[in-house]
């Protein structure tokens, strides 16, 4: 385990070179076919989604992605999903349910896209609908926080039977900068805010919000990806043994007991 401070982990999670959804899809999923669009309005670049095989198992994968080059980052609006992104994700989760495929979500975003157009097209409604419908998806869901898990925009892909985090990823109700601004009217105190928010993988494991931490220390991206792949594969085997009702109950109860 690394001994980075909370804010160093925030920096690592946001790191310019940090692998996001696109990397894990590319390196974990065989025969991946990307599927576009929400069949309502548009196709969101901040969410890559599709189908393929994971160790021979047909799966649906949905990943947040910000892109590598500046052009790509603009196209993917820096990995902040629009309502269309969440609706695309939900559409493909329903599709996975129909064909009885496990669903894997990779989460890494500073938050849902913030803009006039997103509000006009119901950013709040889109996230709410995902939380609500994901509670009823009759297929295994595994959510992985790979970068910054930014508030409701991250949770909208996070209602899983299993939720795990990479060691240096973070997951928080508000950004440390936002918190510091509210608390001390000083965004430069973000490091202190990161401490009080308890947003590291280790904190969340302690709160029973996540089941598993995937080690990162001294490992290459390839090794991390391979370990994560093994974890997901094993959990899919376990979850596939459950009946549809057991899957729903396990997911409901997992969240039901938080803050009881």
């Amino acid at each position: 385990m690394s001994n980075l401070t909370a804010y160093e982990k925030v920096a690592a999670a946001r790191g310019n070179k940090r692998p996001m959804g696109g990397y894990f899809i590319k390196n974990m999923i065989d025969n991946f076919v990307e599927l576009h669009g929400d069949r309502r309005y548009g196709d969101d670049g901040a969410i890559i989604a599709g189908v393929g095989f994971l160790n021979g198992e047909a799966v649906t994968v949905i990943g947040m992605e910000r892109g590598d080059t500046i052009e790509e980052r603009i196209k993917r609006h820096f990995g902040c999903p629009t309502p269309e992104g969440y609706r695309k994700a939900l559409r493909l989760m329903k599709n996975a349910e129909k064909f009885n495929r496990p669903i894997i979500c990779f989460i890494g975003s500073s938050g849902a896209y913030c803009g006039i157009d997103a509000e006009e097209r119901g950013q709040g409604e889109a996230i709410a609908e995902n939380l609500y419908k994901m509670m009823g998806i009759k297929a295994p869901i595994i959510s992985v926080i790979v970068g910054e898990g930014g508030s409701g925009g991250a949770l909208a892909l996070g209602v899983g039977n299993r939720v795990c985090m990479l060691e240096n990823s973070v997951y928080s109700v508000i950004s440390p900068e936002g918190c510091a601004t509210i608390l001390w009217k000083d965004a430069t105190k973000a490091s202190d805010a990161a401490d009080v928010l308890k947003l590291t993988a280790q904190d969340l494991k302690e709160f029973d919000v996540i089941e598993k931490i995937i080690d990162e220390k001294d490992l290459t991206s390839e090794e991390i990806c391979s370990n994560l792949k093994n974890y997901i594969s094993e959990e899919i085997i376990t979850l596939k043994k459950m009946s549809k009702q057991e899957l729903l109950d396990q997911r409901y109860n997992k969240f039901r007991k938080i803050g009881r």
Binding site: I116, Q123, L131, L155, V173, I258
Partner: protein, 271 residues
Amino acid sequence: MSLKDFFKGLFGKESKEPRICKKCNEEIKYSDLKANHIICPNCNAYMRMNAFERLEAICDDETFSPIDEELTSKNILNFPEYDEKLEKAKKATGLNEAVVCGTCNIEGKKTAIFVMDSAFMMASMGSVVGEKLTRLFEKATAEKLPVVGFVTSGGARMQEGIISLMQMAKVSGAVKRHSDSGLLYIPVLTDPTTGGITASFGMLGDIIIAEPNALIGFAGARVIEQTTGEKLPKGFQRAEFLLEHGFIDAIVERKDLKDTLSNLLAIHTIA
């Protein structure tokens, strides 16, 4: 239990102090406000109702029965200034938390009801608000009751960190189980309803009602302006804006709310 008795226990007394209208800055006598549904008689601004006023306006006399009123928040993260904020909010409102839950009759129809009070830490949702709402929906599911909810909130409660965020999923799950049982849920969105509440149970009603001019949105208007540099259109994130964009069913004036809810409950009565 009589509402007055219930709230006397909480407030010690009914608040009858004059209030200042934030829109026209006029100081309004409480009796004038009360006679006008807590709407400013000077400029017609909808002023924020406290939990007591809301319940009194909606519940039939002597029918409100509180649930889990004793539940109170703990400072689970040891978050700075949270204990003080909670104490201050309790003192100011007489409430133990930002939501009051219970059952009541609305024109004779038994209903589960929740009312959020923005005077309690902007009615932000921490674990107790999430737990009380979840228990209310679970009870309504077990007892086959509709749920009517008066929603106002600044969003998830920062002071409880990730636990607050998870309440969005928890409550949404309970709303879903209630809905799957064929039961009616009507949120009434009031000023202001923002952030994680718009992105969870605020937007999950079978029928979503809003009060005129209520601020309803996900991202904060100032944040949007700063992030995008765009000028916000007139009426942005107001109830009328949401109606125009298809995200709420109806805007109902305060004086008509009880009749409208009663009518909708009657239409949805399970034979």
